[in-house]
Symmetry: C2
Subunit: 414 residues, 2 copies
Amino acid sequence: MLAIQASGYGYNTTTMAALNSQLGVNFPKGFKSAGVYCGIKKPGLLDLALIVSETEASVAGVFTTNRACAAPVRWSRQVVAGGRARAIIANSGNANCLTGEQGERDAARMAELVAKRLGCEPTQVVVASTGVIGVLLPMNAIESGVAQVFDRLSDGDDRTTADAILTTDSASKRASLEVATPAGAVRIGAIAKGAGMIAPNMATMLAFITTDAHISPADLQACLTHVVEQTFNSITVDGDTSTNDMVVVLANGASGVELTGEALQAFETGLYEVCEYLAKRIVKDGEGASRIFEVRVSGAADHATARQIAHTIAESLLVKTAIHGGDPNWGRIIAAAGRAGAPIEVNRTRLRLQGVLVFENGQPAEYDERDLVEKMQSEEVHIALELGEGDGAARFWSSDLTTEYVKINAHYRT
Amino acid sequence: MLAIQASGYGYNTTTMAALNSQLGVNFPKGFKSAGVYCGIKKPGLLDLALIVSETEASVAGVFTTNRACAAPVRWSRQVVAGGRARAIIANSGNANCLTGEQGERDAARMAELVAKRLGCEPTQVVVASTGVIGVLLPMNAIESGVAQVFDRLSDGDDRTTADAILTTDSASKRASLEVATPAGAVRIGAIAKGAGMIAPNMATMLAFITTDAHISPADLQACLTHVVEQTFNSITVDGDTSTNDMVVVLANGASGVELTGEALQAFETGLYEVCEYLAKRIVKDGEGASRIFEVRVSGAADHATARQIAHTIAESLLVKTAIHGGDPNWGRIIAAAGRAGAPIEVNRTRLRLQGVLVFENGQPAEYDERDLVEKMQSEEVHIALELGEGDGAARFWSSDLTTEYVKINAHYRT
């Protein structure tokens, strides 16, 4: 895995158990969760999720950089700044975004409702919302929903929790893993949603992660920031960063295993595994997507340059449509790299599609076009661009652009 | 017209004759042109255009910023640096891009072939190419084509010239105008092509402009740079800046009217009219486009900020698909503005769709949804975002994103 190598992850991943996609946030010790229908979405769909740690936990988070961010994002940033939390309450179907002062009050009220039941401060409750922009939350529905969801809390199967945060996703997304660190075994569990950086007037990418590791808020934040940059921040479906994006992790220490040094590094590797799996699941579930592709850029002057070029290629409509058509249209890839705003020297650039060298020395390489076209029909396409400038490397995952994407997004509301 | 006001164009456009879309580069005195079939495209399609000034002309140009730019772009940059030129030779069907050293030699050879016939230096011949990337030019075809096109040169109808630079365009694009400046009347003529910033593995946006005004290369370049930023550089179809983009203007002085001061300003206004018309034509002809939309941003801290926000909205896939669906989905517009990387204050932001106020004071405004949906079905949609920060204003034109765009670009080669 390029990203792991490039960023210096050195931990031996064979000491980890296989990733489990049938259990999420309830896998680590000392967590309970549930999801219920409270009345925001259509009946039959779950729309309110609660995750509770039995004890106070370290909390870390990464939030959207969108300036038009939603009220729950502003609320939860404050919670994370405090470093300690007990719970995450999240609704789907309504983003509580661009809803003015009433929106701010409603986000705070969601935290209060949960805090009252737990006997903690509202500032220890993370709040997240995803759904329609510009519509006030139905607070009566939320109030009765919070009562219901507490009644359903369980440390068993967490499928309802995962389902209750979905919007246009076609499937729920869970992942969990046990990591055998030098200090002892810790567990990591997570749920995520997202099928478009903004789905049709719906927001967003959300991921909630739990762990029973004992870890300080500062260390937890450092791990999360590092991992998110290479996983959730290295995927794109349509380039539209949502107003409600949020990745939050709670670490309650219930394993009794304190993480520092090498054990902390092992934990970060495990966190990477979980986040990478979910990030790829989000791309695969991208609106209308028929296949996904990986863009690896290496040999750039530095990491930032590599990232900028990989991102531009991953978001190019012409690259995304060519991938959809199974077309080894490498001119579009070099052209996208050329407009990324970073210096590239075409004469030193080498490009491989599905492992086949298609461009070097400033001109097309010799290759078997028919063979390559066949290779491009795969479910995963790999693009590798070497710049010959330095050691900077980065990677992005993206989905193809299909007529289905256009249909979903053009005809959703009207 | 916002751009004109914002940039201080003060000239009274009523002193200009109406813009003519049936004649292009042959309208000004002292220019001849023609287009022929030389054998690059399929028989029956024109693929080689020549524009000749009877006398040496001032030349100015604006070129793609793509780092993977084509050989003819590098060649023509040098021509423009020299300030004087006699002709423009342009082929379609092959971009002569990513073609290595042979590509450089071929671009120079195109200039030599023309220069020999005109008895001028090769460095006075602008060369442009548009079409498939990564394939060497068929130079035998070009050589015989240059001989043919000289035989067809005419100062009458220039339809063949306009047609010979097209690729996926659905119609040829010409514009001409006579400007009555205080110093006397001068004429401006132009042809353009483009239907995607990069069409299916084809490049590009090209515009060639002629004028019989007497104007220095430096003044010509200043006018062109200023006008292009607000016209050809303020449109987007798919955000993919091509490797071959080029706008070049030749001013041969055949009118005997020397432009300085107010007369120069009048000329720039005329140049703006011509370029704006052609830029909008390119967007209307955007691959798969069913309607176009204008994004006006005002009240930004400065022009650059306004431009950045307008550009981000104009390129957002979610905005483009909403426009396609005739959906007044304003949350996507504010969300795109919010992620543009510029500071905006949602509470001071006002948004109008088709003149209807939909958002202010950080929350939805009251409006008649059914009436607005009806207004959104128009051929041109207008988005106006006021930020309440300062005097910066900018405007972008964009086309909607349709299933047809995806089909054109996914299934073109394979």
